[in-house]
């Protein structure tokens, strides 16, 4: 029992984590420029449905990934318009975008329910291309954020828009770019979920992954390098819950499915207790300071 439970667990945990990791990286960049976007859940959903639909029609999973990214970016533009142009509240705007994404994806996907697609071919050891994509982006984004001039500009805007402005940066442009980056990556994450991980479309299939990403960014301390372990935590809990279920565990499936949420919440709580509100981009504290 213990053997079958643990065999290949790292790879299945990574596969469960890959869609979340993409979203997490995106939300990490968005929060770095000082915005908390709860709409990533909706962006993930439209990414999942667009990616799945395009893959089903064209038979090209990579084309589907591109479509997913585009759909996520498009929906994130609504969030950018609301929070940057109209200066609406971040949380409320995020939830409105979430709702819009849920509705749009349910409407667009009504003909896709129950359909199955080919998706990507599995690589060595059961790995998949989206897994590699997600893992490869971690060092790329990490190096970019901490090692380049534009990375510094983004961090500066996240710390203090007025100071960045004084240094000749136009903060709102950077903020929009950060939101768009989040849109692209959450759309990719959604597409990775429907095209690669589940190979099917179902209404609301992201099941809170986007919202969990918002919390895990804090666990990862807004550091792209740390998004990998944070996403793995969720992936591990999910992979374990599926295995326990398949292994005929005495604990019912629906209770096991609470495991990833509870595990994320516990780690989140421990992180918060240790950070005590500090550690994030300064401009975010304006959101949290109450």
């Amino acid at each position: 029992m213990a053997d079958t439970l643990l065999q290949g667990l790292p790879v299945s945990a990574l596969r469960s984590a890959a869609p979340l990791l993409l979203v997490l990286l995106g939300e990490c960049l968005t929060q770095r420029v000082g915005r908390i976007n709860l709409g990533v859940e909706g962006q993930m959903l439209v990414g999942a449905v667009a990616g799945y639909g395009v893959t089903a029609v064209s038979g090209q999973p990579w084309l589907g990934m591109v479509a997913g990214a585009a759909a996520g970016a498009l929906l994130s533009a609504v969030y950018a318009l609301l929070t940057v142009a109209a200066r609406a509240d971040q949380f409320a705007s995020g939830l409105a975008v979430l709702m819009l994404g849920f509705g749009v994806s349910a409407y667009a996907g009504s003909g896709l329910v129950g359909l199955r697609i080919e998706g990507f071919a599995l690589g060595a050891g059961g790995t998949t291309p989206t897994l590699w994509l997600a893992v490869a982006l971690v060092p790329l984004i990490g190096l970019w954020l901490y090692g380049t001039r534009t990375g510094l500009v983004w961090r500066a805007v996240g710390e203090s828009p007025p100071a960045a402005s004084a240094a000749g940066i136009t903060p709102w442009k950077v903020i929009v770019a950060g939101i768009a980056a989040g849109g692209v990556l959450s759309g990719l994450g959604g597409a990775a979920l429907s095209i690669d991980h589940t190979r099917t479309w179902a209404e609301g299939m992201t099941a809170g992954r986007g919202l969990i990403a918002v919390g895990l960014v804090i666990v990862a301390r807004w550091n792209p390098w740390l998004t990998l372990p944070a996403a793995l935590l969720f992936g591990l809990a999910e992979a374990l819950s599926l295995r326990l279920q398949a292994g005929g565990s005495a604990v019912p499936a629906h209770l096991l499915h609470t495991l990833p949420y509870l595990a994320s919440l516990v780690v989140f709580a421990v992180t918060c207790a240790r950070l005590k509100g500090g550690g994030g981009p300064e401009a975010l504290r304006a959101v949290f300071a109450r």
Partner: protein, 333 residues
């Protein structure tokens, strides 16, 4: 002031009509026809009005549930989970005491309060951001309900359909007259007015206002933020729990999976758009309820899937948020 508000409403309404019209054109429907059909399906008949009020009830209670902690400056997004856990606890009470409506309602209220107490304690003890903890707990509560109705509480007579046994006649919330609208609506309206009076007239309302605008004043004024965090979160949870048990014991008549239909999130947006003021939240909840009820009618009348109405609801919130913040923005960034 009033002119500004009127101006804003006009922008929101115009923006919404434009967005919704564009969406209807996109899916190949006449925008005017669809808007008329929506109006008809929400207030066009006595039955339609009843359905609108029915959909508005949990949204109003969830808006109040969001609004109470928000008066202290807390951003709780947990009404949905509290609604589920309230329904769960109330159903548990019904299984134990099948003929006591008051115990069932009490169970619902306490269940919602307990589910809200978790993020409140996390906030007080470990400084855990309540927005994110409540979001995660929403999924846990919904999964607990799903587990129960597929497993231990599944009605053996329901032939595969996952639901608890039917509530006994005695444990059902009474209906208003001949309609499907239940007493919960009246309770929600009364509670709303009571909260409005408390916020605007009582010492407690002032305490919340003071703490929201400057938490650092608290120790100087001899006030305890901790106590208010726990109190407002628990009151909010109790209201959402009431929404859950009212839906279950009246509209559905049994506990089912995913019955909330996003009432918690709609409630959050209603509360926020109302600026966390009770009276505007009441009006907005009725509006959103009407729109959602129209969705069900629309599906029958025009064969547009109800998910299209979710899109329209989302567009409505987007238009209102955009318009609401416009005047603050003024010129420049």
């Amino acid at each position: 002031m009033n002119a500004a508000r009127l101006h804003r409403s006009a922008i929101a309404l115009g923006g919404f009509a434009a967005l919704a019209g564009a969406f209807f054109l996109l899916i190949g429907r006449g925008p005017i026809d669809m808007l008329v059909a929506i109006a008809q399906a929400s207030v066009g008949s006595g039955y339609a009005v009843g359905e609108s009020l029915l959909r508005a009830t949990p949204i109003l209670l969830c808006a109040l549930a969001t609004l109470v902690p928000a008066r202290l400056g807390l951003v709780s997004v947990g009404a949905e989970g509290q609604l589920y856990f309230g329904a769960l606890a109330g159903t548990g009470a019904m299984l134990l005491a099948p003929s006591s409506l008051s115990l069932v309602l009490l169970g619902g209220v306490i269940g919602g309060a307990v589910w809200a107490l978790v993020p409140a304690l996390l906030r007080v003890v470990a400084d855990v951001n309540e927005t994110i903890s409540t979001l995660m707990l929403n999924y846990v509560a919904a999964l607990l309900v799903t587990w129960l109705v597929y497993g231990p509480w599944k009605n053996p007579q329901s032939q595969g359909w996952p639901a608890s046994i039917d509530f006994t006649e005695a444990a059902r919330l009474p209906l208003l007259g001949e309609s499907r609208v239940h007493v919960g609506l009246l309770v929600a309206l009364v509670l709303g007015i009571a909260l409005h009076l408390l916020f605007t007239r009582s010492r407690w309302g002032l305490v919340l206002d003071v703490l929201r605008s400057n938490p650092r004043l608290a120790p100087l004024a001899g006030l305890s933020v901790t106590r208010q965090v726990l109190l407002t979160m628990v009151i909010g949870g109790a209201l959402a729990g009431l929404a859950g048990i009212a839906e279950t014991s009246s509209v559905q008549g049994r506990l089912q999976a995913s019955f909330a239909n996003g009432a918690g999130l709609s409630g959050f947006l209603v509360a926020w758009l109302a600026g966390n003021r009770v009276l505007p939240a009441m009006a907005l909840a009725l509006l959103v309820g009407g729109l959602l009820a129209a969705g069900d009618g629309l599906q029958m009348m025009t064969s547009v899937p109800s998910s299209a109405v979710l899109v329209v609801q989302g567009l409505m919130f987007v238009a209102m948020l955009g318009a609401g913040a416009w005047k603050k923005g003024g010129a420049g960034g």
